[in-house]
C-alpha cells in the first residue's frame, strides 16, 4: 500500500549562497552594472563572452585584456518556451537562445523576447533590453529583443460621400422597387444604373426609363474565398442583363444552389419588404431564378 503521507520540505540557505566572482567574472558583472558587455581575450586572440579565467580549450590563463562587445548580436540556436515556469525570466512565451555578440567568438545563453516562435530564426539580429536598476548580475540584461525591421503605419482617410444626382435618382427607384435606366438618344443604348452622361459618346442623357426587374444571367463566378465583408461562401456573383437594358449589372444570385446556376438562366430581383427599404442597393436581396426556359446567348 503506498503511503498517503506527504509533506512539503524546503531547502533554502537563509539569505542565499554567496559567490566570489574572482577578477574576470567580477569585471564582467561590474561592466554589466554599468550597461556594458565585455569579453576577455585569450592568448590566441579569441574573445570569450561571457569571459572565463582560463581558455576552455587549452586550460591556459586568459590575457588581462578586456574588450567591449555587442551590444547587438546574432542568434545561433534557439529553443522556444511556450509555457514559462514560475522561475523563468519572463512570464510570457520566450526563447532561450545562443547569442553571439558582435566582436565575440563564443555565444552567450540568454533570453529572447520575440513574441512568437515564427519571429525566431538562426541569424536573427538582437539587442539587449537593460534593466533600469542594475546590480551586477546577468539578469541586468532583462532579455534580448529583435532589432527593428518593421513598423506599423496606420493610415486612415475619412470621406463624406454623396451619391450625386444620377445615383440618387437610381436609388429612389430602388426604394420604390424599380430599376431606372438612362437612354442615350445618340447611341440608342439603355444604361443601368441610371446615368446622365453616355460613356460611349459623352453626350447628356436626357431620357429616364424604367427597365424590368427580370433579366438573364450572361455569366457568373462561384466565389469560394471567405471574406468577413462578403456574403457567406459559396456565393454566386453574376452579370445580369435586365430586360430592356444594354449594360449588365453585377449582383448576387440566391434561392438556388451555386452549382445549378447557368449562363442564360432567367432571374428576377428579390426585393426586401417595402417597410424595410431605404435609399440603398441592399433593397435588392439578390436575384432568384424565375423558372422560365433559359435565354439564348449571343456569341
Amino acid at each position: 500500500m503506498p503511503s498517503e503521507l506527504s509533506e512539503s520540505h524546503v531547502l533554502e540557505f537563509p539569505g542565499g549562497y554567496t559567490r566570489s566572482t574572482g577578477p574576470v567574472i567580477g569585471r564582467f558583472l561590474t561592466e554589466l552594472r554599468d550597461g556594458r558587455i565585455v569579453g576577455v581575450r585569450t592568448a590566441d586572440q579569441r574573445t570569450l563572452v561571457p569571459p572565463l579565467e582560463y581558455d576552455p580549450h587549452t586550460g591556459d590563463p586568459v590575457t588581462d585584456e578586456f574588450v567591449t562587445v555587442g551590444p547587438a548580436g546574432t542568434v545561433a540556436e534557439w529553443v522556444w518556451v511556450d509555457s514559462p515556469r514560475r522561475n523563468h525570466p519572463l512570464d510570457h512565451p520566450f526563447a532561450w537562445a545562443m547569442i553571439k555578440l558582435d566582436g565575440a567568438d563564443t555565444a552567450l545563453v540568454h533570453v529572447v523576447d520575440a513574441g512568437h516562435p515564427k519571429a525566431m530564426r538562426p541569424g536573427l539580429r538582437v539587442r539587449p533590453r537593460w534593466r533600469a536598476e542594475r546590480i551586477g548580475q546577468i539578469t541586468d540584461i532583462e532579455c534580448f529583443v529583435p532589432e527593428v525591421t518593421m513598423i506599423v503605419s496606420p493610415v486612415r482617410a475619412e470621406y463624406t460621400i454623396k451619391p450625386g444626382r444620377a445615383l440618387t435618382r437610381f436609388l429612389e427607384g430602388v426604394r420604390d422597387g424599380v430599376f431606372l435606366a438612362g437612354h442615350c438618344a445618340t447611341c440608342d443604348k439603355v444604361y443601368v444604373p441610371y446615368r446622365i452622361s453616355c460613356p460611349e459618346c459623352g453626350y447628356l442623357i436626357a431620357e429616364e426609363r424604367q427597365v424590368a426587374d427580370t433579366g438573364t444571367i450572361t455569366t457568373f463566378a462561384i466565389n469560394n474565398l471567405p471574406d468577413p465583408r462578403a456574403p457567406q461562401v459559396p456565393f454566386v456573383s453574376a452579370y445580369i442583363l435586365l430586360d430592356g437594358a444594354d449594360t449588365p449589372m453585377i449582383a448576387l444570385v440566391g434561392d438556388v444552389p451555386a452549382h445549378e446556376v447557368r449562363q442564360g438562366m432567367r432571374v428576377r430581383a428579390v426585393w426586401v419588404p417595402e417597410a424595410e427599404r431605404t435609399l440603398a442597393m441592399s433593397n435588392v436581396k439578390w436575384f432568384a431564378p424565375t423558372g422560365e426556359p433559359d435565354a439564348e446567348l449571343e456569341n
Partner: protein
C-alpha cells in the same frame, strides 16, 4: 514613331512574397542600380526618371513618386509618376520611351514596383463604397465570369487553364528572378488545388509578390552596351461601362495590337514574333489574349495552348520567364513583361532564352481589362 529608342539596361529584383529586408526605397534602388550597372552608367548619366506603380492604397504611401525621387537619383531632374492600374508597368515603359522618341531626353530611367506585403491587394481593391452593393470579390472574382464566358463561346476543354498554369511555372524554374518555383509542377498538382473563384483554381492564379523592375532607355546617340530597339509602342483604353463591351475580347486590346503591329511592320504576329511576354494573371488569359492579339482566330486560341505552341520549345513561346502567373508585383508586372521581351532580343535571358529571338512583344493590361500597353522590341535597328 519619332526618334529611335533603345533599351540599354535592365534590372530586376528576386520576386518573393515578402521582401522584409528592404524599405520601398531600397527595393526600387536595387532594380535601378542593376539596370544602371547593366548599361554601364550611373544616376549622373540619367536625364529623367519615370516611376510606375498600381494604387497608392496597396502600400498606403500617398504620392510615392515624391518620396522616391531622390532615392532614384532624380534630384534636380524631371520625374513623373504613371498609373494605369495593372497595365501601369507597361505604360511606364511607354511614357519613358516617348520622352526619347520625342527628342526630349537622351537617357531615361523607368522604374516600376509593388511591395504587396505591406497590406492586402484584395482589401485595397474592394473598398466597399456606400450606396453600392459590394460583393468583395477581388481581381479573381472580377475576371472569373469573363473566363467562364470564354470557355462557353470557344468550347475550350476545361484543362486548358491547367496547361498554362503548368507551362508558365515550368518556365519559372529557369528564371532566377521568378517568385513561384514549384519543382515537379504538373497537371495533377494544379487540379488538386481548390476553386477560389470558379472556374479559377488556386494554382491558376498569380501570386502576391514584392518586387521592382527598372530599365534604362536611350536615344540612338546615347546607346551603351547591347541595345534592344523599340519598333513600336501603343496604348489604348476603353470605357468599362460601354454598352455591348466585349469583356472576353476587348476592342481596346485589338486596336492596341493593330497599332503596335503596324508600326513594327508585323502582319502575322504568330510567325513574325519570336517570343511574347503577355500579361496572364489567370491561366485562361493565355488563350483569350492569343485571340485578342491576333496569334489565333477567334475561339481558336486554346488550340495553340493545347498543342504546346506557346511552350518554351513551341513555335510561338509565350511567357518564357514564367510570366505574371509566376511573379506578380502588380505595378511592376507590366514593366517586367517589357523588360523580359528586351532581354530576349538582347540574347540575355539566360536559361529561359528563346534561341535566336530577334523580335519580341511586351504586353500589359489593367483595370477591368480596359487599359492596354504594348511594345515590340527587336535586335535590329528599326
Amino acid at each position: 514613331m519619332g526618334n529611335r529608342c533603345a533599351v540599354i539596361g535592365i534590372g530586376q529584383t528576386r520576386y518573393t512574397t515578402k521582401r522584409q529586408d528592404v524599405s520601398i526605397a531600397g527595393l526600387v534602388r536595387e532594380a535601378a542600380l542593376r539596370a544602371l550597372e547593366d548599361a554601364g552608367l550611373t544616376f549622373k548619366d540619367i536625364d529623367a526618371v519615370v516611376i510606375g506603380k498600381a494604387p497608392d492604397l496597396f502600400e498606403g504611401v500617398m504620392m510615392p513618386e515624391a518620396y522616391l525621387a531622390d532615392a532614384l537619383g532624380a534630384a534636380g531632374k524631371p520625374m513623373m509618376r504613371v498609373h494605369t492600374a495593372g497595365s501601369v508597368g507597361g505604360s511606364t515603359g511607354l511614357v519613358g520611351a516617348s520622352l526619347i522618341q520625342g527628342g526630349v531626353h537622351e537617357r531615361v530611367l523607368v522604374v516600376a514596383y509593388e511591395k504587396q506585403s505591406e497590406s492586402n491587394a484584395t482589401w485595397a481593391l474592394s473598398t466597399h463604397l456606400p450606396y453600392n452593393a459590394s460583393l468583395v470579390v477581388g481581381a479573381g472574382g472580377y475576371f472569373a465570369p469573363h473566363i467562364r464566358e470564354y470557355m462557353r463561346r470557344s468550347g475550350a476543354p476545361d484543362h486548358i487553364g491547367t496547361l498554362v498554369a503548368v507551362k508558365d511555372r515550368q518556365n519559372a524554374l529557369k528564371n532566377p528572378y521568378a517568385h513561384l518555383r514549384i519543382p515537379g509542377i504538373d497537371r495533377a498538382m494544379v487540379e488538386s488545388t481548390p476553386m477560389l473563384w470558379e472556374p479559377i483554381r488556386y494554382l491558376e492564379t498569380c501570386p502576391s509578390s514584392d518586387g521592382a523592375c527598372a530599365m534604362v532607355l536611350a536615344a540612338e546617340s546615347a546607346v551603351t552596351g547591347r541595345p534592344a530597339w523599340v519598333h513600336g509602342t501603343a496604348m489604348r483604353s476603353e470605357p468599362i461601362f460601354r454598352a455591348g463591351r466585349d469583356t472576353v475580347n476587348p476592342q481596346g486590346g485589338k486596336d492596341c495590337a493593330a497599332d503596335v503591329y503596324r508600326q513594327a511592320g508585323i502582319t502575322d504576329p504568330r510567325r513574325e514574333i519570336d517570343v511574347a511576354e503577355v500579361y496572364v494573371p489567370f491561366s485562361w488569359y493565355e488563350p483569350m489574349w492569343l485571340e485578342n492579339l491576333g496569334f489565333a482566330a477567334e475561339n481558336e486560341g486554346w488550340k495553340l495552348t493545347e498543342a504546346g505552341c506557346t511552350a518554351l520549345d513551341g513555335d510561338t513561346p509565350w511567357n518564357a520567364s514564367g510570366g505574371v502567373l509566376s511573379s506578380n508585383p502588380i505595378g511592376a508586372s507590366g514593366l517586367i513583361r517589357f523588360a523580359e521581351a528586351a532581354l530576349q532580343v538582347r540574347g540575355m535571358a539566360g536559361e529561359h532564352q528563346v534561341e535566336g529571338a530577334r523580335t519580341a512583344l511586351g504586353h500589359a493590361y489593367g483595370g477591368g481589362a480596359q487599359f492596354f500597353a504594348m511594345w515590340i522590341v527587336g535586335a535590329d535597328k528599326p
